[in-house]
């Protein structure tokens, strides 16, 4: 066995885990209340997909409403509830649980060579809070759903329908879940890496999860405080936000955005991680500037705590604070730009196979760059005076959240699908699906920038007739995007029925999850491998991992340059 | 000394001195330990000793500046 690099970390805990938890045999313990991180990851994925479909339908109601200047479909108050629920659900019940809960749970322990997360039972509880909170959130439609947008600014949210209370409870619960997952992942990454996996040998997806965890358990708890205050003000009349009783609406905005701006990075940094996994694998070359990408994730996470008030430039906050917030916001462009350039340089000189995940990664680079640049327009305070609260903001946030987070989710879903299911998907359909989503998405949201600049405020069920052409254009494009999403689910079903067996490593990747069978066995690694090299060195003749020859039960072969790329 | 008039203030004064001294002694005992729990304990014991100083300030009537009600 090759010698380990100096400074390796070891984790005997792995070696004894099955001593504590034998593999369950009953259906309920195996698939419903499982403590296996892979099952929990898939549970997150299924639940998140259900909420994604529901929230997507709400989005299509919004776009259908906006086909005509006076609103085609629903009454204004119903419309207000629909977009509020769309936003709340997409942020808290789709993107965050899918990126951290689903992919983080399934992939991260595999990539660090662990047998599970640090606290499997906590993981189980954190997951089960999620569907329960989701049901509570959507049951608010029965009593009058919240109608003040996903931001729920008081005082209007204090007067909102009773469902707003349920909204507070649901978001508070999902926040607790997120906090649990954050602590769990941080301890896992700190304490449970395989021997030899130093910090600079961690795959970049693990780095991304690592950078995200403090945001999950610090910022989310602050939101919990804000929500609790809103709840007790609504239910018990305790004055925090009502200006007529000595409270302050701006207090909510500060507390809300102290969470919700870091939340933006909870929603995008793991996406960065996915892209950083996909690109080197399909370009067959090391990721360019590994350390810069890893550290820029941490830099973005740290900076994200000091930019929240850029959502409040027009709110009447203290004027002199606007400048530091503007400058720090602009600074975030630097680490983000470094990442984008590094990804482009990873493509350069590669031997790129344009499989669907790689297409999504390239699409991500383009759309996310666009979203980042419009973010600059919003960060510049004088311009923000014009753009705040308009469709420009709507377009910007969808460019970063759909063009960023959801695109990376698609990339990750295609990339890890063979590992999760053990089967390949239909590549042709995958590519068609990519182009439907990519074109549909850009045609939906690009015109909204112009509408916003021209004078269309956000959160309106009706608009000036002169804006109708681009609204119709956006709505029709959004139907293409919706069909693309449905096609995605068809592809998954089709893969289950007709997909070829994937084998352990269909993409010829080098990270640890590809060293074991697909789908992975219950304990992941019968023997924990020792990590000997960097994760993306396709040209490195040295093996990535060392295995004890006597213990040949692990179905893995070390990947190196001579390892052939499978044909499918 | 009007600030020490109440029996409560005398109790607080004596209590804070006793508790503060024992907190500092405990802190000294912990000082050379290096585990994560020891570091956190040091931080928390230190802050608790600071709390005793605050109680002393209250007992002497230095804080609150406006005077207690």
């Amino acid at each position: 066995m090759a010698t380990l690099a100096p400074g390796v970390q070891t984790g005997p805990y792995h070696a004894v885990l099955d001593h504590i938890h034998p593999e369950p045999t009953s259906f309920i313990r195996k698939y419903i209340f499982s403590i296996d991180h892979k099952i929990i990851g898939i549970q997150y994925m299924i639940t998140g997909a259900v909420f994604f479909i529901i929230s997507g339908l709400l989005a299509e109601i919004i776009r259908t409403q906006l086909l005509t200047p006076n609103g085609l479909l629903v009454r204004p108050d119903t419309y207000n509830s629909i977009y509020s629920m769309h936003g709340s659900s997409m942020v808290w019940f789709v993107v965050i649980p899918l990126l951290t809960g689903a992919f983080g749970n399934f992939v991260m322990p595999l990539q660090i060579g662990a047998r599970d997360v640090a606290f499997p039972w906590l993981n189980l509880v954190a997951f089960w809070i999620f569907p329960v909170a989701g049901v509570i959130l959507f049951s608010s439609f029965l009593v009058g759903a919240p109608d003040a947008g996903w931001t729920e600014y008081p005082p209007i949210s204090l007067m909102g329908p009773p469902g707003t209370n349920l909204w507070c409870i649901a978001v508070f619960m999902i926040g607790i879940s997120s906090t649990m997952t954050g602590i769990n992942f941080l301890v896992t990454i700190l304490k449970m890496r395989a021997p030899g996996m130093t910090l600079t040998r961690m795959p970049l997806f693990v780095w991304a999860q690592f950078a995200t965890t403090p945001l999950s358990f610090i910022a989310t708890t602050a939101l919990g405080g804000a929500l609790a205050a809103l709840f007790i003000e609504r239910v018990f009349g305790v004055p925090f936000y009502d200006p007529k009783r000595g409270g302050s609406p701006l207090l909510w905005q500060h507390m809300f955005w102290f969470y919700s701006h870091p939340a933006v990075y909870i929603m995008i940094i793991p996406g960065f991680g996915i892209i950083s996994e996909v690109l080197p694998t399909f370009a067959r070359k090391p990721i360019f500037g590994y350390k810069m990408i890893a550290f820029s994730s941490v830099a973005i996470a740290l900076l994200s705590f000091s930019v929240w008030a850029h959502h409040m430039f027009t709110s009447g906050m203290v004027p002199w604070l606007q400048l530091p917030f503007m400058i720090i916001t602009m600074l975030i462009a630097i680490p983000t730009g470094v990442k984008i350039f590094s990804w482009m340089a990873t493509l350069w000189g590669g031997a790129i196979r344009w499989k669907t995940p790689a297409l999504y990664a390239a699409g991500f680079i383009i759309t996310f760059t666009y979203g980042g640049l419009t973010g600059f327009f919003l960060a510049a305070v004088p311009l923000d005076y014009h753009e705040h609260g308009t469709y420009f903001v709507v377009a910007h946030l969808h460019y970063v959240l759909y063009g960023g987070s959801i695109m990376s989710l698609f990339a990750g879903a295609y990339y890890w699908w063979p590992k999760m299911s053990g089967r390949m998907y239909n590549e042709t359909l995958g590519r068609i699906q990519f182009w439907m989503v990519f074109i549909g998405f850009n045609c939906t949201f690009t015109p909204l920038h112009w509408l916003g600049l021209l004078g269309m405020p956000r959160r309106v069920p009706n608009y000036d007739p002169s804006y109708q052409f681009w609204n119709v254009f956006a709505s029709v494009s959004s139907y293409v995007m919706a069909l693309g999403t449905l096609l995605f689910f068809y592809i998954l079903v089709d893969s289950f029925r007709n997909g070829k067996k994937a084998g352990p490593n269909p993409w010829g990747a080098r990270t640890l999850e590809w060293m074991i069978a697909s789908p992975p066995p219950y304990y992941n690694f019968k023997k924990i491998p020792a990590v000997l090299a960097a994760p993306y060195d396709f040209g490195n003749p040295l093996p990535y991992i060392g295995l004890d020859a006597a213990d040949g039960a692990v179905e893995a072969t070390p990947t190196h340059s001579s390892h052939p790329v499978p044909t499918h | 000394m009007e600030s020490l008039a109440g029996i409560e203030k005398i109790v607080a004064l004596v209590g804070a001195v006793v508790v503060g001294v024992f907190a500092v002694i405990s802190l000294k005992g912990e000082w050379n330990k290096t585990g994560l729990d020891d570091h956190v304990t040091k931080l928390l014991l230190g802050l608790m000793a600071f709390g005793c100083i605050l109680v002393l300030l209250a007992a002497f009537g230095i804080l609150p500046r406006g005077g207690g009600a």
Binding site: I352, W354, L373 | -
Partner: protein, 358 residues
């Protein structure tokens, strides 16, 4: 493991420099069109500070377009040139390069410099906006569900949903709200401020084009948020004067008509909580929130005479509540904006009189 640096020059790929030249030319052409366009965001400018904000937009637009061109075109170009050929052996790998410190230094340094320039430029415009002088005409805008009310210093009644401004006259607008958050957006002036109950925000504009422009509520405020639209009417001096004179003339004493003796203090106390306490405490006059404290309105020796030296009598207080107030102590909406009837005013006066006796 040693880093193997591959010299980029030999491996840039076919057509790298022509593509780069194309990006530069395309960005320059776009820069030319952005910089020379009169309406870069496609919207007419009706006065200051729209000009400087449009200039910032142009500048950002030029930079953003160049970056976006580079990212998109290089990504597509690399994707095409470096795709794996169909007949390539399956163990083909790309160029094994990990790092290029010089390149990374430059692509960190150049964006940093750009960010600094953009930040300085934005800051400069921001400082200009803060220092804008706009005191010739001062108007107060009050948002309510669902409309805007404007109070002029010399008009006794507020104007609803129409803000009349005089051409080339610097105008300060004090913005607040009566109920929930609203947004006060003047797209043709590129200005916006939230209307926050209990807080006064200020924007300053100088109209330089005659015509009608939009006022749009940009902060969600309830079911009819989408219908909350007003207009700015910019007029020349004569038209403005004509319009102004039609509005009922200068400030008159109207409080005399209110039968204040019928006021009930307990009803007034309730009203005070609903309508006044966002801005007024019931402490002494110095306990200023947005407006002064009203607890000793009638017998506080420290407080200035009610308005400009008139006596503090119940009639004067009633008149002030009815007409609203604007001056160095701030702005207060009139009774019409506050939706106070004459009976309400009488109740409030009774309540305030009762407070002063305690």
């Amino acid at each position: 493991m040693a880093q193997r640096l591959v010299k980029p020059k030999t491996n840039l790929g076919p057509g790298f420099w022509p593509v780069t030249a194309f990006i530069v030319v395309l960005s320059l052409v776009m820069a030319y069109f952005i910089e020379t366009s009169a309406e870069p965001i496609g919207l007419k400018a009706a006065g200051d500070p729209a000009g400087s904000i449009d200039a910032l937009f142009r500048f950002l637009g030029v930079v953003a377009a160049a970056i976006f061109n580079a990212v998109v075109i290089y990504t597509v170009y690399f994707g095409i040139v470096f795709r794996m050929p169909k007949n390539a052996p399956p163990n083909t790998i790309g160029v094994q390069i990990h790092d290029a410190p010089v390149l990374e230094f430059w692509w960190t340094a150049i964006p940093t410099i750009l960010v600094v320039i953009l930040a300085i430029y934005s800051t400069k415009i921001w400082v200009d906006l803060q220092n804008t002088q706009g005191d010739v005409l001062t108007v107060e805008a009050i948002g309510y569900q669902f409309g805007f009310a404007f109070r002029y210093p010399k008009l006794k009644e507020p104007v609803v949903n129409e803000l009349h401004l005089q051409l080339n006259e610097p105008t300060t607008i004090h913005i607040t709200s009566r109920d929930v958050l609203h947004g006060f957006w003047l797209p043709e002036f590129r200005q916006k401020a939230d209307m926050v109950p209990g807080l006064v925000n200020t924007i300053r504009i100088t109209p330089n084009a005659v015509g009608e422009f939009r006022i749009i509520c940009s902060e969600f405020c309830g079911a009819a948020h989408g219908r909350m639209i007003g207009k700015v009417v910019v007029q020349n001096q004569q038209d403005f004067a004509r319009w102004f004179s039609k509005q009922g003339g200068t400030q008159g004493r109207t409080g005399g008509g209110i039968a204040i003796s019928a006021g009930k203090a307990d009803a007034g106390q309730k009203l005070f909580g609903e309508k006044c306490s966002a801005c007024h405490s019931v402490g002494a006059f110095e306990q200023k929130q947005v407006g002064p404290g009203l607890g000793k309105l009638f017998n506080d020796p420290a407080h200035p005479k009610l308005v400009n030296g008139t006596d503090v009598t119940p009639q004067d207080v009633a008149r002030l509540i009815h007409d609203g107030f604007q001056g160095d102590m701030g702005v207060m909406p009139s009774a019409q904006v506050n939706a106070l009837s004459n009976a309400d005013i009488a109740n409030l006066v009774a309540y305030l009189a009762g407070l002063s006796k305690k």
